[in-house]
Symmetry: C2
Subunit: 419 residues, 2 copies
């Protein structure tokens, strides 16, 4: 097979470890420079391919590439630009192939979640229909942990660790204060459809009575009276109550808490935040003093508290993506396979993109306790291995030393294109 | 001097390192067991003295005491119970002395901020007027960093590090996403009156254009039009805008942002959160997509990211408190003295409580840039040393191993008392 160039792009919300996957891709490509020429990275994700803004990663030193392993955010820029079906967006798909052709790109590595798996598959299909030889490999990444087939998704383990640790620390705070002050603490976490991140909060406690006392999952319909009764019981029994709530918490009819009846009382719904909404209910129904926190971007960019397991897996899927492409695989995604539960062992497998694209994996009901407010032993057994190990970035002057890459663009060869 | 017992209590909002001060007190007392008998800790702070709920720390092993150094929260419980002037609360003050007398307590170590410095002073005065021999020493602690005389306050350095690191990490996230998605990120931080914590966010960036692009201090009156113009400029110039805002941000007339005109539009004011309020303004005036985070308890309990300097200082003031008492000092507080700026060196000094009580130290105007939206070089020079060094807790199974103490109470000797 003649030597060809590669294209790599980051897609959707970034994670604390997506750059570790980029590191895996670039380092492995460099080791195989007899088969792979230049790795181009899309500036701001797939947009960069459409606009022909290709970052020439050969200008990045080996040392800088290595530093990607401990750098959060998306080093090349990501985007929320979604390519729809080929009929609607045929011009865009064709443009991608044109750009690939112009830069002799034979390998397409797309690093993202559900949407990008779908895009990756469609690009592969179009290339095939146009007789353009392309190996398209999707590299999994999502804090939401909702990709099917793979046991878990790179990016999730670090958020899980951050939420578990933060919940435990905040719980120790409120435990100290509750005699005379705050009785209820609410932490809002990401995960609009799937409750994996909320579930990870459950790792903060182990024994009866330990925080979090309630987890509110998007998978379990929210019933105000039931929740408030539980909060009240908890305050009476333990002196305080710690709640981890998913931003996607919703009523039985599917409306989100932050968008529902409470909107009038608590303001413009875009301002939402389910934590203040729930805090309002606590105040109104129970009268307890509360505090609430919304972690937002902090949770998914907290490289300072990354899970070593997650970092290793993120690197491994990047590395495996290149290996699969070099083996001639197309329309595939490296997966993480749980080879053993105790002790936890994982290895890399592979899946067809047609089994991945547009399928969302929710928390199985049996990972949630029967009452709907906690994680079961099965849930704990699943989650616990993913937060194992610490992988601290280097520090300088009290701050983590993260790498910032210069975006050296390859010369354009095509006319401008308006995506 | 005959051997006497000691009483230690934690007061007000806890910090990531207040237990390091407790560790300093108890370890130093144990080293001086020829002069100090039992160290009793107030269960839930000073309340424990009033109710005679004295935790007998001699039941705590040396190893557990050592673990306090890396454990957040308040290990003995804290409280927001404030003793007012002696006239109003004479019964309470007298009760304290009674309890001290009943348990042969000759040393009083009170670990807190402004209010507790005042209480400590009053207890010393009352003891003197009652001819009860007591050495009362205040041990500084406050994330707000607003105590006078001392160069800085234990607890602050770790919050400062947390906010600086979190701001940098979140900024890397939004930088990756801004081309097609979020343009404005807002992080709300603590500090209702003084902008020290907000200022620490400024350590996230160093060069022109680096986040945070705006810091909103409580010391600088908030003007919506000016702020919105800056945000808009920033988005146009850099592609995105990161804002760190103090929960105490206020208008020129003194009303808090979250309590002001915006209240009607955005709901019940207790639900506040200045971040969503500011986000609402961004949406309304500029139409940019935003994200916001409220760190709340997470920032002051984040022992996983403590500043090693802060931990060392917290321990040192605990140790020094005992030393001062043993030297016969009364109504004093150990302080942190900046012995040298470059390289940063600190040592322990002492101050009279009458110079500390009820005085709040704000950010000096010259620590803030002339435009009011950033930290000056003088501010940076002051703040930077305080976040130096990492002091990680030990981990087990992916989670920090924090100690949880059993509260073994000393036998009561007095009739019940209703505080």
């Amino acid at each position: 097979m003649a030597k060809q160039n590669a294209f790599y792009a980051q897609s959707g919300g970034v994670t604390a470890v997506i750059n570790a996957s980029a590191c895996g891709v670039i380092e492995t490509a460099r080791k195989n420079n007899d088969q792979i020429g230049t790795v181009y990275a899309g500036r701001n994700g797939i947009l960069g391919a459409l606009t022909e803004e290709l970052i020439d990663t050969s200008s990045i030193s080996d040392e800088e590439v290595q530093q990607l392993r401990h750098t959060p955010g998306g080093a090349f820029g990501s985007c929320r630009y979604k390519l729809k079906d080929i009929e609607t967006h045929r011009t865009q798909y064709e443009r991608l192939i044109e750009v690939f052709k112009a830069h002799d790109i034979g390998y397409f590595f797309y690093n993202g979640g559900n949407d990008s798996a779908d895009t990756c598959l469609k690009v592969a299909q179009l290339a095939e229909s146009m007789n353009y030889p392309l190996k398209a490999v999707h590299i999994p990444k999502t804090v939401d942990n909702d990709l099917p087939v793979t046991d878990n998704c790179p990016g999730f383990g670090s958020v899980a660790k951050y939420i578990a640790v933060s919940t435990r620390e905040a719980a120790m705070d409120i435990a100290s204060m509750s005699a005379t002050s705050t009785k209820v603490f609410i932490l809002e976490v990401m995960g609009r459809h799937a409750g994996w991140i909320a579930g990870a909060g459950g790792l903060a406690g182990q024994k009866e009575g330990e925080a979090p006392h309630l987890i509110i999952f998007p998978e379990i319909p929210f019933d105000r009276a039931t929740v408030m009764a539980r909060v009240d019981d908890c305050v009476k029994k333990y002196g305080y109550c710690v709640i981890v709530i998913s931003e996607g918490a919703r009523y039985a009819d599917g409306t989100f808490l932050a968008d529902a009846g409470t909107t009038d009382a608590f303001g413009h719904k875009q301002l939402g935040g389910v934590a203040p909404t729930l805090a309002g209910m606590v105040k109104q129904d129970l009268g307890y003093k509360y505090h609430w926190a919304v972690a937002d971007y902090l949770q998914r960019s907290a490289r300072h508290l990354a899970s070593a397991t997650d970092v290793a897996q993120a690197y491994a899927v990047g590395e495996a993506g290149v290996r699969l492409a070099l083996e001639g695989k197309n329309s595939v995604m490296p997966t993480i396979v749980r080879a053993s539960e105790t002790p936890y062992k994982w290895e890399i497998g592979e899946a067809c993109l047609s089994d991945i694209a547009n399928v969302e994996k929710f928390m199985p009901r049996d990972y949630i306790t029967p009452d709907g407010f906690g994680i079961s032993q099965a849930g704990r057994d699943y989650l616990e291995p993913l937060i194992q190990g610490e992988d601290y970035p280097p520090y300088e002057g009290g701050m983590p030393r993260y790498v910032e890459l210069k975006h050296q663009l390859a010369e354009k060869k095509l006319p401008d294109f308006q995506p």
